[in-house]
């Protein structure tokens, strides 16, 4: 009952998200469920995610998780996306169990982005 529902990471990512926005001419994944909406947009160069940006409508955990994903995968090879697991984010952001469904929306968005990149590169 008493603990702050938001840990410092959530508070920081929510207050100052450095990866919020669009990627002009990039490729995007989008997913919507549980009343949440998340969009991830990437600029892919040489199999690497050069830029990753998010837009999100949802609770602070969802917004912070989207920011976390961007921080995590920017600069990574595209293949890393496949290894995305919600577990680490759930832990880093201390997401309460009852919000698991919302974070899965993020997983779906990451998948959606992965597929979009695939479609782009395999004609």
């Amino acid at each position: 009952m008493t603990t702050d529902p938001f840990n410092t990471t959530v508070r920081e990512y929510f207050a100052n998200p450095s990866h919020c926005g669009e990627v002009a001419g990039g490729v995007a994944g989008y997913f919507e469920d549980h009343g949440m909406r998340i969009r991830l947009a990437a600029e892919v160069r040489d199999g690497t995610i050069a830029r990753l940006r998010f837009q999100a409508w949802g609770c602070p955990h969802v917004i912070a998780a989207a920011e976390a994903v961007c921080r995590r995968f920017e600069g990574q090879p595209v293949s890393a996306l496949e290894q995305f697991k919600t577990g680490q984010i759930m832990e880093d952001l201390a997401v309460p169990v009852e919000k698991t469904g919302r974070i899965l929306v993020l997983e779906d968005t990451v998948r959606s982005l992965g597929r979009a990149i695939e479609n782009l590169t395999t004609p």
């Binding site: 909406r37 837009q55 409508w57 602070p60």
Partner: protein, 387 residues
């Protein structure tokens, strides 16, 4: 957290700080009259006198006889005692009870308990502005209706019900009339010598008195069954050692209120207008409750397509409420706002600003910009809807 440093407290409907005069009175009683008012010695009688004086103070605020007041631990207990105690005492009159969907949980849950015990409850809906039309109320009354309970001032929206009109209908139908006055007593004029009310609950901590003490007004001759049993205090209707300092604090808060209410209301109305003017042009803003005539200490607004929890966090260091004051932790959309016709999505974005005696114009200014910025920020973060 940095934000913890300077909270801007705009949650006076949840609870208020102690008025300095109340705190001082309580300290005096704690050091010189901490005795058990039931004790059969002069020290005990000293404390009993303190209790009597507090009853006179509260009675003056409500314009009633001091003997018509029972001390309780708060409005929750008063509501329980009034509704359970009233309904059970009058079971012979029938098992039909009337209340509203926009009541506080401390009323709703009591009726739910009675429902399980075989009582039948009419849960009346308000109009879109939150008010209960008198005709709707009267139409709900049946021959076996024996008790009605209506919230005077809604804790989420500030909507004010027509207690006088509703009470008159109760009188003409021999229906016991309980009013949850937790948000009205000590905050707006309440003249129980003239209002047709049989039972009224109140709690000190909503008007600058101490937490943990409240009262139930019981009109002369109104039968209620006790819900606790014990040492015989308070005519056996509510036993337990009287917390003489808390009662003195409640009395003092009542006395302060008696002299401040008019000034307070002007102060609140000015600030509420400042707040409303500052935010009303925000796109998609929706005011929940009465446009005019509501309690000026509360402004409840929803806003389209903004997520409530994020809004609340973005509003820090403002301390404001979403959902009900008294158990805001629940994530369910407010049933009060649902009853006003709001969708779940609309209800979840609702913010209740509640102002008080210490609120300043500078704080309101801060609240205005915080609100505008928060809505803008969250909208900027959000993706377009599915394309």
């Amino acid at each position: 957290m940095v934000t913890n440093a300077d909270p801007v407290y705009l949650d006076y409907a949840a609870t208020t700080p102690l008025d300095p005069r109340v705190a001082e009175r309580m300290r005096a009683v704690q050091s010189s009259a901490y005795f058990n008012p039931a004790s059969n010695h002069f020290a005990g009688r000293l404390s009993a006198t303190v209790v009597d004086e507090a009853a006179v103070q509260l009675a003056a605020l409500l314009n009633v006889d001091p003997t018509s007041l029972l001390w309780t631990s708060g409005a929750t207990e008063s509501n329980n005692l009034a509704i359970l105690g009233g309904a059970k005492q009058r079971e012979h009159r029938g098992k039909h009870l009337v209340t509203m969907r926009t009541e506080h949980k401390a009323v709703v849950d009591v009726f739910r308990a009675l429902e399980k015990q075989g009582f039948e409850i009419a849960w009346l809906a308000p109009d879109a502005d939150g008010r209960l039309p008198l005709e709707r109320f009267e139409a709900a009354l049946r021959d076996d209706t024996q008790l009605a309970s209506i919230l005077h001032i809604n804790n989420e929206t500030g909507v004010v019900q027509d207690i006088e009109g509703l009470g008159a209908i109760c009188r003409s139908h021999d229906v016991l009339f309980h009013v949850d006055g937790a948000q009205s007593a000590g905050k707006v004029p309440v003249d129980l010598a003239h209002l047709p009310v049989d039972l009224m609950s109140l709690t000190a901590h909503k008007f600058y008195g101490p937490k943990g003490v409240g009262a139930l007004f019981v009109a002369d001759g109104t039968p209620i069954a006790p819900q606790m049993f014990g040492g015989g205090q308070q005519r056996r209707l509510r036993p337990g050692t009287l917390p003489v300092d808390l009662i003195a604090g409640l009395g003092e808060a009542a006395s302060v209120a008696s002299s401040c209410i008019d000034k307070d209301l002007l102060h609140l109305a000015a600030l509420r207008d400042q707040l409303w003017k500052g935010i009303r042009d925000v796109e998609g803003l929706q005011r929940n409750g009465q446009d005019r005539g509501g309690y000026p200490g509360i402004l409840n607004v929803g806003v389209q397509d903004v997520e409530g929890e994020s809004l609340l966090l973005a509003l820090e260091p403002l301390c404001v409420a979403t959902g009900s004051a008294c158990n805001s932790r629940s994530q369910e959309p407010s049933s009060v706002l649902r009853a006003l016709g709001r969708s779940d999505l609309e209800a979840q974005s609702a913010i209740r600003f509640s102002l008080g005696r210490q609120t300043t114009s500078a704080e309101i200014e801060l609240a205005v910009s915080a609100y505008r910025n928060a809505v803008k920020k969250l909208r900027d973060l959000a993706p377009e809807r599915v394309r």
